[in-house]
């Protein structure tokens, strides 16, 4: 019988303690970040889709179309083509298509690039009614940016 009352009292007490905690939080400031009005800075290592790094002088991509990223990509979402041009060392990249819809952001393309021509972009809020929007032509994207 005493156990009955003990449990009753301690149980009721625990319920009031719970109410106290949530009541305290009711008056505390919210932690919400109101997304379209304010937004986070992505950390330097944030992995968005990859993008080409431009050569600082010419603005052309540093990529020499060696194809290591294409080879190293686990899901085969990169398609690189390049051509040999007069007076240029290595190849010039003519086509760099990233099919972002199968990418897993593992970073093996960036890691495998020996020429420092790839990096992760900071685009984190992509959404669109069209699927085709996410098959990126990275050369086009680079031109748009500069």
């Amino acid at each position: 019988m005493s156990g009955y009352f003990k449990e009753l009292i301690s149980g009721t007490k625990s319920l009031f303690i719970g109410l106290g905690i949530t009541g305290k939080y009711f008056f505390e400031p919210v932690v919400t970040l109101q997304y379209p009005h304010e937004h986070l800075e992505m950390t330097p290592r944030y992995r968005g889709h990859i993008e080409l790094i431009p050569n600082e002088e010419t603005g052309e991509p540093k990529c020499i179309a060696c194809g290591m990223c294409q080879k190293g990509c686990p899901s085969g979402c990169i398609e690189v083509k390049g051509e040999k041009r007069e007076g240029v060392k290595g190849k010039v990249v003519t086509k760099y298509i990233l099919n972002f819809t199968t990418c897993s952001l593992c970073g093996q393309c960036v890691e495998s690039c020996k020429f420092g021509a790839l990096r992760f972009s900071k685009e984190y809020n992509l959404a669109s009614p069209r699927k085709e929007d996410f098959i990126f032509d990275l050369i086009e994207k680079l031109k748009e940016k500069s």
Binding site: L8, L15, G18, L19, I21, T22, G23, Y25, F26, F27, E28, P29, V30, V31, T32, Q34
Partner: protein, 338 residues
């Protein structure tokens, strides 16, 4: 004012009150839940998200209406109304202030309990008619829960009737006039266990309205959406309005029986129109404080286990309320002058 005009005016008032109240209680609930959880809650739709209920209403009303395969069409359609209508009917006898009451019936308290019991029938029929196993389980739970909790609730009410000698809600409020220590919850001279009966009554009204932690009817993580599982669009909306109307009734009764209804905490009363406003504002203050507590409780606790819920009723609430009944009877018999 002629009687018929008064009745029509009150019907309009009660309907719009019940509708708006349900809509904005949902808003309060979402906003309150948001702040308890350290987020904002609805905000972008109108100032402070105040247009959110309208958007929800417009959406629910324009949703496709259809009868899922295998349902009993009549029961399926009637059930939401059976939850909603009795709740609205109960508003008729609630005194919002001394003169602001649709019908001052001698048996007002009894009438509310009579109508409140129909609510569970609606849920049962709806869940039976849905032809869904989850809904059926929820319906069965709901009935046993309501049966179990009606008993301590009624015993406590009988205690209150013994103390006040009336079932007229307005009379009950009038008997609590004066300073706030005259509210029944503080009248230990009438019954020693008054605060306990208040607690019992409040817990029972939580259970009767299927609110967390006793939300067996919905039990989201167990029974999908419980009794409402198969209801699309406005059928679901009406259920929800009914549920919120029931919460208001439960909290209003608690306020009337224990917290002095429309009485101000100080002995200050006005006549005429000002008096109506004065009384109403105190009533609504108490009402919404209680409703806030209901919301607060919902967002704090996990759901009780079903047999624990019955245990609580049969092993704790009923014995205590019976003891309370006997104690009060003795107290009245021994000290009849109080």
């Amino acid at each position: 004012m002629p009687e018929w005009l008064r009745v029509i005016l009150f019907i309009i008032f009660v309907l719009s009150f019940a509708g708006l109240n349900a809509a904005y209680l949902v808003w309060c609930e979402r906003k309150g839940a948001g702040h308890i959880q350290r987020r904002i809650g609805p905000k972008e739709v109108g100032p402070f998200g105040l247009l959110q209920p309208l958007a929800d209403g417009a959406k629910l009303m324009s949703k496709q209406l259809f009868l899922p395969k295998g349902v009993d069409p009549i029961l399926f359609m009637v059930a939401p109304l059976m939850v909603m209508v009795p709740a609205i009917m109960s508003f008729c006898v609630i005194p919002f202030s001394e003169t602001f009451v649709a019908r001052e019936i001698n048996l007002g308290l009894l009438m509310i309990f009579a109508f409140a019991s129909v609510n569970v029938l609606g849920l049962l029929l709806g869940s039976w008619g849905s032809a869904n196993k989850y809904a059926l389980i929820a319906g069965a739970r709901c009935v046993s829960q309501n049966v179990a909790y009606e008993i301590p609730m009624l015993i406590t009410t009988i205690t209150m009737v013994m103390v006040t000698n009336t079932m007229n809600l307005n009379e009950i409020v009038r008997s609590q006039a004066g300073w706030f220590i005259h509210w029944h919850i503080f009248r230990l001279d009438m019954s020693l266990l008054m605060p306990v009966s208040f607690l019992i009554f409040f817990v029972c009204s939580l259970a009767e309205t299927n609110r967390a932690p006793f939300d067996m009817a919905e039990a989201e993580s167990e029974l999908i959406a419980g009794a409402y599982t198969e209801y699309p669009g406005m059928g679901f909306g009406v259920f929800f309005m009914g549920e919120y109307a029931n919460i208001v009734i439960g909290c209003a009764l608690t306020a009337i029986l224990f917290l002095g209804g429309w009485q101000a905490p100080i002995p200050l009363n006005f006549g005429g129109f000002l008096g109506v406003l004065w009384g109403m504002s105190w009533f609504f203050l108490k009402l919404y404080a209680l409703i806030f507590t209901v919301i607060w409780i919902r967002w704090t606790y996990p759901r009780t286990q079903f047999y624990e819920l019955l245990n609580l009723s049969w092993k704790v609430l009923i014995p205590i309320s019976l003891f309370n009944l006997i104690l009060t009877a003795l107290q009245i018999k021994i000290f009849p002058w109080l």
